[in-house]
């Protein structure tokens, strides 16, 4: 065991001491800072500009029905469509909301502006109009105002659901992003660190140092030490990233915190009394801030914990396979033929994951791919932010552990023969033969 630690130590230190490790370790959080800065910047910009709507309502239904908020005000205007349109010129915060007489049948409601309006601005106006029409229709259907008032609670629930949906929308966005990023990181890191193991094995083989070392330790110990050492490098990198990123987030959060607080309390008010005439102004949230809010509702320790587990599990499986490939060849160009079956499940899962699983995280394909040990690290990381039943998680983890024990066993049987074979063009048949060699 002491010898395995020596090998781990060498593999670890020889990589961590490299300049490229330091550069990568600090480059990624800097990108994170840049991203935060961008979000902050966008939020600042959006937050500052107040939009004014000129409501040209030919139907007359919406007169004085829109609610002003801190960032949007509604002004009701009369007159010609073209005349009003001309007012917009060079006014970047002025918008014209045009509602024709037959808006219901023609569906010709327009928002005109000199600058493209934001998505959330549009959806807010749409939502308000839907609410207004809904109320009007209920009244028109003969439901008197008393009943409407008494059924207010119900309408409120409806309205709340709507806003909830809005929130859920944002959350799905955040979940989506977290799933995407974490599975992409796993995908990438399995390749990066797996390839490092493979290159390390090839290096030892082509350097011809391997026979010197296996006269001191068992081939399995050497393989294990290399895999664990490089894995520790990966973990160190991730931990440094997490620590640096969290520190940055906390600092960045301090800047944003006061604004977020206000919005949160107002949101509660808004949802509670959204249809009340006396309701306070509904705050217009910027999408960026929405995302930050949604992101803060995600259980990061749980995500990070599962991420680290699936990284370790997936890494152990793939690095063992990569080590076996490295042992079978004399140089890196020969690895091609053996790389394909190893990278296939990775690439396949990633593509399927980004197209199918992320849109249907509880579907059968998502389920099976998150059970198979070769695919589960990527598939499961997409699903976890959406929520996965405990039994599925436990089963997936158990299968992953069993999977890496099994692949390590196979890989080590090929490895122990491969590292001592020189100048031989190896085929799959040959690999199978090696597997059955006695010690």
């Amino acid at each position: 065991m002491k010898k395995v630690f020596l090998i781990i130590e060498r593999e670890y230190l020889s990589r961590v001491k490299k300049k490229s490790f330091l550069i990568l370790t600090f480059l990624v959080p800097s990108l994170f800072i840049a991203m935060y800065a961008a979000v902050f910047f966008i939020y600042k910009n959006e937050g500052e500009s107040k939009k004014e709507f000129l409501v040209l309502d030919e139907s007359g239904i919406f007169k004085n029905e829109f609610k002003n908020s801190e960032t949007t005000t509604f002004k009701y205007v009369n007159g010609d469509y073209e005349a009003n349109k001309s007012k917009l010129k060079n006014e970047k915060d002025l918008l014209l909301l045009y509602i024709p007489k037959d808006y219901a049948s023609s569906n010709d409601i327009e928002i005109l502006s000199s600058k493209k309006p934001g998505f959330s601005l549009l959806s807010d106006v749409e939502k308000q109009m839907e609410n207004i029409i809904q109320n009007k229709k209920l009244i028109a259907a003969g439901i008197d105002t008393a009943i409407l008032k008494s059924s207010k609670t119900q309408i409120n629930i409806n309205a709340k659901q709507l806003t909830d949906e809005g929130e859920k929308d944002a959350n799905i966005g955040a979940t989506y992003v977290v799933g995407f990023i974490s599975s992409f990181l796993i995908y990438l890191s399995l390749f990066i660190y797996g390839a490092q193991v493979m290159r390390g094995v090839i290096e030892e083989k082509t350097n011809r140092i391997v026979e010197v070392i296996v006269s001191s330790v068992k081939p399995f110990q050497l393989m294990l030490g290399k895999i664990l050492g490089i894995g520790a490098v990966g973990l160190t990198q991730f931990l440094l990233w997490i620590i640096l990123s969290t520190t940055i987030s906390v600092i960045a959060g301090k800047f944003l915190a006061p604004d977020q607080q206000v919005i949160k309390t107002e949101k509660v008010d808004a949802t509670a009394t959204v249809n009340n005439d006396a309701n306070p102004t509904k705050v217009q949230e910027s999408p960026a801030l929405k995302f930050i809010n949604a992101a803060s509702s995600i259980n990061f320790p749980y995500i990070i914990g599962s991420f680290l587990f699936y990284f370790i599990g997936g890494y152990l499986i793939y690095s063992a396979l990569f080590a076996a490939v490295g042992s079978a060849v004399d140089n890196e160009t020969e690895t091609q033929q053996f790389m394909f079956p190893i990278t296939l499940p990775l690439i396949f899962t990633f593509i399927v994951g980004m197209n199918v699983i992320i849109n249907n995280p509880d579907g059968p394909l998502a389920f099976w791919l998150s059970m198979i040990p070769l695919t589960s690290p990527i598939a499961m990381m997409i699903r976890i932010p959406f929520g996965v039943p405990t039994w599925e998680l436990v089963l997936s983890i158990t299968l992953l552990i069993a999977g890496f024990v099994f692949t390590t066993w196979i890989a080590s049987r090929i490895y122990r023969v491969g590292i001592l074979m020189y100048g031989k063009k190896v085929t799959y048949k040959e690999l199978a033969k090696w597997f059955f060699y006695k010690e």
Partner: protein, 300 residues
């Protein structure tokens, strides 16, 4: 010190070692000789516990070979190398620790050897900055760092320039004088002939001959002599010997003769001295290489 008993080792359908038994005495230099592919490296890998035999046993100092013995053996493989990007000192430290030395001991021993081999300034150097000959020296030091009881050198002088080969040879002899047992494994039999006390010849996974060099040569010498002289002789008139070879070198005649049974060199000289001027006479002792070829042809 090392007793190899009835080793059989098979790879897939190829039998690399077939019932090979060898005894190696403590403090001796032993030559494991045979052409490429005969099974030498397979046997060495078994002694180093890199692979295990299919049947048969190896005893080290009377104990059945076990992982504890790994630290008592120093092995210089035929396919040898070092980490290119690692500092020499660090590399030595790593390899010594893998052989079970503590860090402090390892540093002490590395310093000792670096001084002995005049490598003190190499500690911070990387392998890629060293010449091939320097790398070989480093490699040799790595093999002997942990003060092994048994040193196994597979094709030790291949790739060495003559100067370094001589240095290494002297170091090996010095270690042997202190009691270290040495195994040379090589297909270039002439390169170790003078060094070895004992040899074993391996051919096509079988041991075909073993014993002390002296004994083997005694068996294979066959009353053949080389004589150089000035003057001329009618060679066909002599009945005491048979001429195998004739040559003329700068006015000097050289003949290789085989004595007929019961005849001594003195008898021949008495006959020849009145006729010609004798310049030189020596017994032709077959080289191990020749013995090997003789033995293999005899087997066929």
């Amino acid at each position: 010190m090392l007793s190899i008993r009835n080793i059989v080792k098979e790879y897939a359908k190829h039998r690399a070692l077939d019932d090979v038994s060898i005894e190696i005495e403590k403090g001796k230099i032993f030559g494991l000789l045979g052409p490429n592919g005969a099974g030498k490296t397979s046997l060495i890998r078994i002694i180093n516990q890199i692979t295990a035999p299919d049947s048969g046993e190896v005893y080290f100092n009377g104990e059945k070979l076990n992982p504890q013995h790994i630290n008592k053996i120093g092995y210089l493989p035929e396919e040898r190398g070092l980490y290119k990007k690692m500092e020499i000192g660090e590399q030595m430290l790593y390899l010594a620790q893998l052989k079970g030395l503590s860090k402090a001991d390892a540093i002490k021993r590395i310093k000792f050897w670096f001084e002995k081999m005049e490598m003190q300034t190499w500690w911070k150097k990387k392998v890629e900055d060293l010449s091939k000959g320097m790398q070989q020296k480093v490699q040799f030091v790595a093999t002997v760092l942990h003060d092994p009881e048994l040193i196994i050198l597979d094709e030790p002088f291949s790739g060495f320039d003559p100067v370094n080969a001589e240095i290494i040879k002297d170091e090996i002899l010095e270690l042997n004088k202190k009691g270290t047992t040495i195994i040379f494994s090589t297909h270039r039999m002439e390169s170790v002939e003078q060094l070895c006390h004992h040899i074993a010849l391996i051919h096509k996974s079988h041991k075909i001959l073993d014993g002390s060099i002296k004994d083997i040569k005694n068996v294979y010498r066959n009353e053949t002599y080389k004589i150089k002289y000035e003057g001329s002789l009618n060679l066909s008139q002599y009945s005491n010997f048979e001429v195998i070879q004739e040559a003329i070198l700068d006015e000097i005649q050289e003949i290789t003769i085989k004595l007929n049974s019961g005849i001594s060199t003195n008898d021949v000289l008495l006959e020849l001295i009145p006729q010609v001027q004798i310049k030189h006479i020596e017994e032709v002792i077959p080289s191990i290489n020749e013995i090997f070829i003789q033995k293999v042809t005899a087997l066929n």
